[in-house]
């Protein structure tokens, strides 16, 4: 007798999804828990952790932002292999504004976010007409090239970079600034991707020809998605510049390109929350594995391979499925 596994939605999901009048605390909790978990979790973590792990939480949040920005691009049909471009541009903009004009962080960070977004979008507009791997190729090249330009022309501090930049007022401002931005980006962009606007972006990923047939200018939409993603990345860069009080060539390092992709792949592409979850798994893991040195990147590479092949949906999709559905074995007729 053969059996197969059947997946059925839980009753509580059906009740709380379609019926708008929630009838019990249990149903409300069922809906609210997944949304409250990251908020409460982050706020709790920011208080209970030791100083060292608070610093780790900062970089986790930064990588989570980069992973979310990668996910937005991937959902709009642009696979970027160079998140470091966004990160580095934001970091250098903030660093320059602070170093040359002496502007304080509360001015440089927003400015670097906006102009970093505009600048990266301008960089990538010529290649927006490319699809799939062609776009990936160009994004892979750009950050590596910018490093060479800075090295060659010795602009922006050359190989030394700028150090001694203004820090943020204190560690709590740092912590809650990044947490606020991360949560806003997560929930705001999830909402955006579920709206009609997000539908167009997802449509470009699925079949850009038919989106064009609907009379929509896909390049204009791609430019907007690119701006959102690169502004997020630029914010992360500008923030880190003021946290480390340093900006230099390492901001274009491969780490900032690879880790976000690895996080998105491990967590699950297409949900944003998955990317964030991935960052919260991978970055602390790499912190624990710090003793391994260069071997860490080897592990990221292997993570990428194993997860794309074995668990293509990522962890988040798995958890989501378990949360909404139950499984049982039924006989094959």
């Amino acid at each position: 007798m053969q059996k197969r596994k059947e997946r059925v939605d839980r009753g509580i999901k059906a009740r709380s999804n379609d019926v708008f009048a929630l009838s019990s605390w249990r149903e409300m909790l069922y809906l609210a828990a997944p949304r409250l978990l990251p908020i409460v979790g982050l706020l709790l973590l920011s208080v209970v952790l030791s100083y060292y792990w608070q610093r780790v939480l900062l970089s986790v949040s930064v990588f989570a932002l980069l992973a979310i920005s990668w996910d937005i691009l991937a959902q709009s049909g642009m696979v970027s292999l160079g998140q470091a471009l966004f990160f580095g541009t934001g970091a250098y903009l903030a660093g320059n504004m602070n170093h040359y004009f002496g502007w304080p962080p509360y001015l440089t960070i927003p400015l670097a976010t906006i102009f970093g977004g505009v600048l990266c979008t301008l960089f990538l507009i010529p290649v927006l007409r490319l699809r799939g791997i062609y776009f990936s190729m160009v994004t892979l090249v750009l950050p590596l090239m910018l490093v060479r330009i800075i090295e060659a022309t010795r602009i922006f501090g050359g190989t030394e970079g700028f150090s001694g930049l203004d820090p943020l007022p204190n560690k709590w401002v740092e912590m809650y600034l990044i947490i606020t931005v991360l949560l806003t980006a997560l929930f705001g962009l999830r909402r955006l991707m579920n709206s009609d606007y997000g539908l167009v972006l997802k449509g470009i990923n699925d079949n850009d020809r038919s989106v064009m047939n609907a009379g929509i200018n896909i390049y204009w939409f791609k430019i907007q998605a690119l701006f959102i993603a690169s502004a997020l990345g630029a914010f992360a860069g500008a923030f880190m510049t003021h946290v480390y009080m340093f900006v230099g060539m390492p901001v274009f390092a491969l780490d900032y390109s690879i880790l976000p992709i690895a996080a998105a792949v491990v967590g699950g592409i297409g949900t944003l929350a998955g990317s964030m979850l991935g960052a919260f798994i991978l970055v602390p893991l790499s912190e624990i594995l710090r003793g391994l040195g260069g071997l860490r990147i080897v592990f990221y590479g292997l993570f990428l391979v194993v997860f794309t092949v074995a668990i293509p949906g990522g962890i988040f999709h798995y958890i989501q499925r378990k949360y909404h559905q139950f499984e049982r074995w039924v006989e094959v007729e």
Partner: protein
């Protein structure tokens, strides 16, 4: 100075062509963008170094073994990873990139860094062409590069396996219905790409040392040449490698060596504005890209 630039530019162009050939075979036949290409390139060179220096085989056997090993690595990569995600472009890119990254960083981790890691030149001598001195290794590269390209052309036009290659390149489903095992042919194409990478590395790297970082720049050069030439078109590849190769050499001669890195990127941007499908790209490819 000009004749110097012309001759060395020629050599540089052939080097680029040799580097891009392997990437182009794999992509042209099976549609897989092998982002682990740079890693296979370095792996070929390091394998050759290990066989020659650590195990002490004769150089000739070391070369053959290294090429075979890289080809097998490519085949294994297809069999155990790419086969499962075939056709999902995003997954293919991420998985091959992950493999390449893991390999390169692993080589770096186990300490293949330094001047002692260099392959011997085949013939240590130089000749004069006019007033330009050029060493025989570079001439050998030109010979090998052209013969590899010619071999590829004959192979894909006059052998059964080669015709199968072109078959699945044109239409994989039709090829399948005609009794061609498309998975095996695609596996062969990846392993061919690996073998070409190893051959390119073994002939080119004696000019310098084996530097793991080169894995990334090799990949970038191969990508640039392929985009400019129109992916999958061998004629375009040759023309593009000459354009970029001469561009790089003239940049080094008349400007500054730091700007070399910019040449491939500018070439990509210009070609995208003028002819988005690449120099020899056809209408079909145009549709795929835009």
């Amino acid at each position: 100075m000009l004749t110097n630039a012309i001759i060395y530019g020629f050599v540089n162009s052939v080097i680029l062509m040799l580097v891009a050939l392997g990437f182009n075979i794999t992509f042209g036949i099976s549609g897989i963008a092998n982002f682990a290409y740079g890693a296979l390139y370095i792996m070929g060179a390091l394998a050759c170094w290990v066989f020659f220096n650590s195990i002490g085989l004769p150089y000739f056997f070391a070369v053959i073994l290294a090429v075979a090993l890289t080809a097998i690595a490519g085949a294994l990569m297809y069999r155990f990873v790419l086969l499962r995600i075939r056709g999902l472009v995003l997954s293919e890119v991420i998985a091959t990139f992950g493999i390449g990254l893991a390999l390169l960083e692993f080589f770096k981790y186990i300490g293949f860094i330094g001047f002692q890691y260099s392959l011997p030149v085949f013939i240590d001598a130089s000749i004069n062409i006019g007033r330009v001195v050029i060493d025989l290794q570079r001439i050998l590269i030109v010979i090998i590069g052209t013969s590899m390209a010619a071999f590829l052309w004959f192979f894909t036009h006059y052998t059964r396996t080669g015709l199968r290659f072109r078959g699945i390149a044109q239409d994989e489903r039709t090829a399948l219905s005609l009794g061609i095992n498309t998975d095996r042919v695609a596996m062969l194409s990846v392993s061919f790409g690996g073998a070409y990478a190893a051959i390119a590395a073994i002939f080119i790297l004696p000019l310098g040392t084996i530097n793991v970082e080169q894995g990334y720049s090799v990949l970038i050069n191969a990508l640039a040449v392929c985009i400019v030439g129109g992916l999958g078109s061998t004629g375009g590849l040759v023309l593009a490698s000459f354009l970029i190769g001469y561009g790089q050499t003239f940049t080094v001669t008349y400007l500054e060596s730091h700007w070399v890195m910019l040449v491939p990127l500018i070439a990509i941007l210009v070609i995208l504005v003028i002819r988005p499908s690449g120099l020899f790209g056809e209408q079909k490819q145009l549709e795929e890209r835009i």
